[in-house]
Structure formats: C-alpha cells, structure tokens
C-alpha cells in the first residue's frame, strides 16, 4: 500500500513538472538596438564671463557665430562646462576646423590641443594636454580641415572638470595671422580610442 502511494506521488510530481514546464516564460519580448555615439563639442563665439576663453558647447551647435583671428605664437581656447563624470574612456578626438591664414605660400601649422580643465576656477588647466595634433592651413580663404588625435589612457576626472580646446599658431613667424570661422563646423567629436 505504501509503495503504491509513493509511486502515485512520483507520477503526480512528474505530471506537475510537465505542466509547469509548459507555462509561458513571457507574454512578449521587445528588442531594440541603439547606436550611441560620443559627444560633439562645438566652438562658440560666446565668451566665458571673466575669462579670455570662449564657450565649448556639448552637443549643441552655437547660436553665437563669428570669426576669431590671432597672430602666430598666440592661441585661442574654448572651454566646456562640467562633464559631471568621474572618468572618461580613453578618448579619440576628431577635429573639424574652418580656418585660413593671411599668407599661404607654404602650409602654416595650427597646433590643436585638448586639456582637462576645471571651469569653476577657470585657471585650473590640468597639464599635460590629453592629446595634440597639427593641422596645416593651406589657403588664404576659409577651408575645412580635419585632424585626429587620441589620449593615452582612461581619464580620471573630478565631476567638475570639463574639456578645454586650445588652437594655437605654430608657424614660427609673427607676421602670420590665423583666422577660425566659428560657423558650427568648427568642432570635435569624441569616440573611444
């Protein structure tokens, strides 16, 4: 009698197992695929109050357009606001610049650098630069130039920190004047190196 009860129990459990195995795991499944690209930093003609820097806008083409000019050996810089992150993957910067020089008999190098800076103090630029690259300006009228450089490691950041983009004349000739058109094209895009 005991044996038959055990046998019945086993059969019943097997049946319950089979029944529960056939219950739905889900009513439906929704799958979405998204492409995430790195942020774009646009050079704006808007000044950062109390500084010589202009604004570097994250993912927002500038409404303040215009052009800036500077002589060889000097620079202009664009600073972003705080990134609010503690770290940044090893970055690769793709620069896009609309530029010209007053004398293009030979290519005139423009030095492009990106730093980490603290916009809350405005004087705190973290050395050295994350990366640096040269762009040869070859025309006396505005033209589009591109260049790329990468950081060497993951960036450890204070959440207050942002990026500072410095553009400097590197011809070694004081008579050369560089002009940058802040037209919405002048920007850099960050991706993972």
């Amino acid at each position: 009698m005991k044996r038959s009860l055990v046998a019945f129990g086993i059969v019943f459990l097997l049946m319950v197992n089979i029944a529960s195995a056939s219950v739905l795991t889900y009513y439906g499944k929704i799958i979405g695929t998204a492409e995430v690209s790195g942020p774009t930093f646009y050079a704006s003609n808007e000044d950062i109050t109390g500084t010589l820097y202009k604004k570097l806008l994250i993912n927002q083409p500038p409404s303040a357009l215009g052009e800036i000019s500077f002589i060889d050996g000097t620079s202009r810089s664009f600073g972003s606001g705080s990134l609010n992150v503690n770290s940044f993957y090893r970055p690769k910067f793709d620069f896009h610049v609309t530029a010209k020089v007053n004398d293009a008999t030979i290519p005139r190098p423009l030095i492009v650098r990106v730093y980490v800076w603290d916009p809350s103090t405005t004087t705190n630029i973290i050395q050295p630069a994350i990366c640096e690259v040269m762009v040869n300006i070859t025309s006396t009228s505005y033209d589009s130039y591109t260049a790329t450089c990468s950081g060497t490691s993951l960036l450890s950041l204070n959440p207050n920190y942002g990026f500072l983009w410095e553009i400097k004349g590197g011809a070694g000739l004081a008579s050369i004047t560089y002009s940058i058109n802040l037209d919405g094209y002048t920007r850099f895009v960050v991706s993972s190196a």
């Binding site: 889900y26 009513y27 439906g28 929704i30 799958i31 695929t33 492409e35 995430v36 990134l83």
Partner: protein, 301 residues
Amino acid sequence: MKKIGENMKIMSKKVKIFGKQISVIAIALLAMAGLASAGLLSYYGMITGTATVKQSLVISSDGSTWKECTGGSYDACKLTYDLGEMVAGDTVTIEKPFYLKNNLPVNEPWDYVYFAYKYEIPENLYDGLTSFKVSYEASTNVPNTCDKVAEIPLDIFKCDGTTCSAMIPDKLGEGMIQKFCGTTIGLKANTIPDTYTITIDIIPVERIESNVMHFGPNGWAGWSCPIGTVVVGGETIRADNTVKCSVSQELPWKPGASVDGVSYPSTPFGYTYDASKNEQGWIVQNDNDHEDCIIYVYCAK
C-alpha cells in the same frame, strides 16, 4: 471413446511454470477468460473536444495585429525595433510604441492580468545613464495619447558584470489596451560609444495574497513569494475594502535590502528569511494607527 479418453488424459496432465505444478485445465480456463475479457467494451462512447487556449496578454507593434507566443514559440511574440542614434551627453526620447492587450472577456467581477516589464540593458550603457523614463497610456480602445510618464529609478537595476536588469510590476484590466509610447533616456557625456541592445520582456507575475494582518501603530509585517520566484513589487490594501492601507513604508525584501538598520535576511518583525533558498517578499510598516490589511506580493520566475 478412446479419443475422448485420451483428451481427458491430457486435461488431467499438469505443467510446471516457475517451479509450480499447474493443471492444464486451469491454464485453459484462464486463457478463455482472457479471450472473453478482450471482447468486452472498453467504453460506451467517446467524446473528443478541441480547446484553443488564447494568451491572456498579447502584444502588438501597431495596436491592430496582436501577437502571442503560439505553441510556446517566443519568436511569434517578439517585436524588434531600430532605436536609431543617441549621442552621449544628450537626453533622447525614443518613440517606438508597442501595445499590450488584456484578452480576457470583460466580466464581473473586474479582473486583471498581472505582469512585469523586465528591462535588460548592457552594463556599459547602464553606467552611462542619467535618467530613464517611460511614457504610456491605457484605455478600452487603442490609446492615442501618452500622458502618463513614469521615471524608473536607476538604483533598482541589478548588474551581473555584463547586463543590468530591473522588473517593474504592472496590471491591465479585462479588455484594456496599454500603449507603451516610448522611452526617454539621459546619457552621460562619457557613455561608451557602441551599438547596444535593450530588451523588455513582458513576464507573467503571480499575485500572492496574505492573511489579514492586524497592524498596531508602527507595526511591521511581511509576506513571502513562493520559493523559486522573486519579488517584483507589492501593495497593501485594507481588508474591508479596496483602499490602500495607510502605511509609513513598504518595500521589497530581498538580498541587499535594508531598512531602519535591519538588513535582509533579518526583518524588523523578527522573522528571518531563508537566504539559502533566496526567499523574497514584501514588508510593510503601518503608520501610527490600528488597521487590518492584506499584503499583496507580486512575484515572478
């Protein structure tokens, strides 16, 4: 006569089966009984019925073509979307609606299908999130608007090193249609650029009802999910009607949970959950009064 005599002789013979002497007559009688019983009716009649079981909750991409996991085929109830491009540092609204319909006939008493949205996000994307909101609307017809917005707290996601997941319980009344209108995602500037796949599973949820809890002022009580299931939500309803009990706090009780200095598997009311079996539940603290309440725990596999 002689022949009959010989037959009688045969009948009186015995054969040995499993070491026992059995008469040939007995074997012949058993064989005849067997033949006779084989000729009896197995049944007086046969009724054959075919039942088609429809899925209680079905999904659709357009609110008109409803999909169900026919025959247990999950490919049949799958929707796939291209969510487009998002830029790190931005807040993006992705409008890729889908619809859920409660297939149950509308009958008294009003009943619900309980389910949960199970979100699964790659950990690299989760690490880059600043906010995650969904908009939705429910109606007896296909909703045209999307007025309701729910923020999904990022701290409810659990990550395993590759994927982060969270389950949000929900319910849909008989005959109702819910439109999941879209998602608004805020991304940090340092979100790693990549192609990410986000999934939302609509999973069945069991609604477990507790005994009536006789709460005293600030008293605690809880109710567990069946072992083998995990808590996805809960609510506390008055025992005498359908109004929510006035509780001061209620929360899922599962590994990692803590409240007022007490951590899982201990509870503020003295019971210890069986952590070895991953026992989970919903615990409630009454506010400063006496109330009889029922705890409903939402549990999923």
